[in-house]
């Protein structure tokens, strides 16, 4: 459910900081039909070319003001991921993705207000760097 909300097309790119490629990031909509506090994001997973990115290498922002690790995000009850506002998922990885084509898979899972099973959305995109 909500797979098509996940991983907005043409948003995956390497991230440059001080002339160094520190990783890559992509944008995504929420796997729900309403905005929720960040603490209700059950998990975010990234796979690049079939290899799962370690959880501790993922950073998340809903507004480009505050960035969080997934562990930190579990207690973020006052900042919301608004419906219709893409969030950015960043993977910290020296050198980012190499030049060429990669299969990048993003999984976003949210806990909801009344559905006992969290809502997971998965999307794989072929990304050209």
């Amino acid at each position: 459910m909500f797979d098509t909300n996940v991983f907005i097309e043409d948003t995956c790119k390497n991230v440059l900081k001080n002339n160094q490629v520190i990783g890559y990031e992509m944008q995504t909509h929420i796997t729900y039909y309403r905005g929720i506090p960040l603490s209700m994001i059950n998990y975010v997973k990234v796979k690049a070319d079939g290899v799962e990115v370690p959880r501790e290498n993922i950073r998340f922002t809903a507004d480009h003001i505050d960035w969080f690790t997934l562990d930190e995000m579990e207690t973020v009850a006052l900042i919301k991921w608004e419906f219709g506002v893409p969030a950015t998922v960043r993977v910290l990885q020296d050198g980012g993705l190499s030049k060429g084509t990669h299969d990048v898979q993003l999984t976003v899972c949210t806990r909801t207000a009344y559905i006992p099973v969290p809502l997971e959305g998965v999307m794989t995109r072929s990304v050209v760097i």
Binding site: M1, T4, N5, H29, Y33, R34, G35, I36, P37, S39, M40, N42, E74, T75, A77, K80, E82, F83, G84, V85, R111, T112, A113, Y114, I115, P116, V117
Partner: protein, 349 residues
């Protein structure tokens, strides 16, 4: 005599909004000018930022829009984030506080009714009643197919509604309870996307044609309980399981069968005076200008006969069953549904 009013829920346009094709203002204009609806329903969490404590700027923008479009504010759909934290459920005190915040926000936005989503616990009502009265906001629980009449948490809530017997407490039935035919868009989607077998689909449709539903057949406690029981390896004798040929193709469909009901309208009889708002679910408008599954003439005639004078609100859900790669035709569908509803209303009132 009652006077039933038309309404559109902006829930219907979630995809338009999410993808940036329509702003909140575009949607309000569409509801007012194209649909000609009397009222509008919103999910504050969906199209307003920072809820339940939006900024003054957000309130000001909302006031500007309301002044411009002059729609009745029929209902605000409220949720309760009991799962706010991963390691625990919210306490009663935290839940009560959240709903009170929603009541205050609804009042400031100009709504007089909030819909509490299905499965909100019954104990929320009494401690929030004072805030509801003070802010002149009615709290009404959603009675949704798969989570409706006969489901313990919903029955508890209904008992509490009767016990409190307050003009500030009520229900919002969802017309998905009254599907006379199984939605074929759901079947078509599962057939094309998952490869669900034809025999199973035919069986599902025949169950509804014979006047019953899977909720009834399983004699269970609803959609989620069936799902949870399946996880524990339990089986239900609805006749659907024995028609599963390939679980990877068929089980998603089976899981959805009890999310639609085929109840007689008389299930609402004991609660008539507590109906504060009504969700008119829309899965698919047919070429002849009717909803494929739900007989709205039957429902509107019933409501009219019982002097209902609230809103009936189009809630489009065919978006979930639009085939991948096909455009979601929510505006077109909502417009047709509104024309259909108004035609019936003109006939009966």
């Amino acid at each position: 005599m009652g006077n039933i009013k038309s309404c559109v829920s902006l829930y219907s346009f979630q995809n338009q909004y999410m993808t940036g094709k329509s702003s909140l203002e575009d949607l309000l204009r569409f509801v007012k000018e194209d649909c000609g609806a009397d009222g509008v329903e919103i999910l504050p969490d969906q199209m307003l930022h920072g809820t339940p404590n939006p900024s003054e700027k957000t309130y000001q923008e909302w006031s500007r829009l309301m002044e411009k479009y002059q729609l009745d504010l029929a209902c605000a759909d409220v949720f309760l984030n009991t799962t706010l934290y991963k390691n625990r459920e919210l306490t009663k005190r935290e839940c009560i506080d959240l709903i009170k915040q929603e009541i205050v926000m609804a009042h400031r936005l100009g709504f007089k009714t909030i819909r509490l989503v299905s499965m909100v616990p019954a104990w929320i009502l009494e401690p929030c009643l004072e805030a509801a009265v003070k802010n002149d906001v009615i709290m009404a629980i959603e009675i949704h197919a798969g989570l409706g009449f006969g489901v313990p948490k919903t029955e508890e809530f209904l008992a509490e509604v009767l016990r409190l017997n307050s003009p500030y407490v009520g229900i919002v039935p969802d017309a998905g309870l009254f599907c006379r035919k199984f939605p074929r868009v759901t079947s078509e989607y599962c057939k094309k996307v998952y490869g669900t077998n034809e025999e199973l689909i035919k069986y599902a449709h025949s169950v509804f044609e014979s006047g019953i539903d899977f909720f009834e057949l399983t004699k269970s406690r609803g959609f989620f309980e069936i799902e949870e029981a399946k996880g524990k390896g339990l089986r239900f004798e609805s006749g659907a399981e024995s028609r599963v040929k390939d679980p990877s193709k068929d089980m998603f469909y089976v899981a959805n069968l009890s999310a639609y009901e085929n109840k007689p309208l008389s299930v609402m009889d004991p609660y008539i005076k507590y109906i504060k708002h009504f969700h008119f679910k829309l899965y698919e408008m047919t070429k002849t200008g009717e909803e494929y599954s739900i007989d709205y003439k039957e429902i509107l005639t019933y409501l009219k006969a019982h002097d209902y004078n609230g809103y009936v609100s189009t809630e489009y859900e065919g978006n979930r069953w639009t085939l991948p790669g096909k455009p979601i035709k929510e505006k077109e569908q909502v417009l047709l549904h509104q024309q259909y509803i108004k035609k019936i209303l003109n006939e009966i009132q």
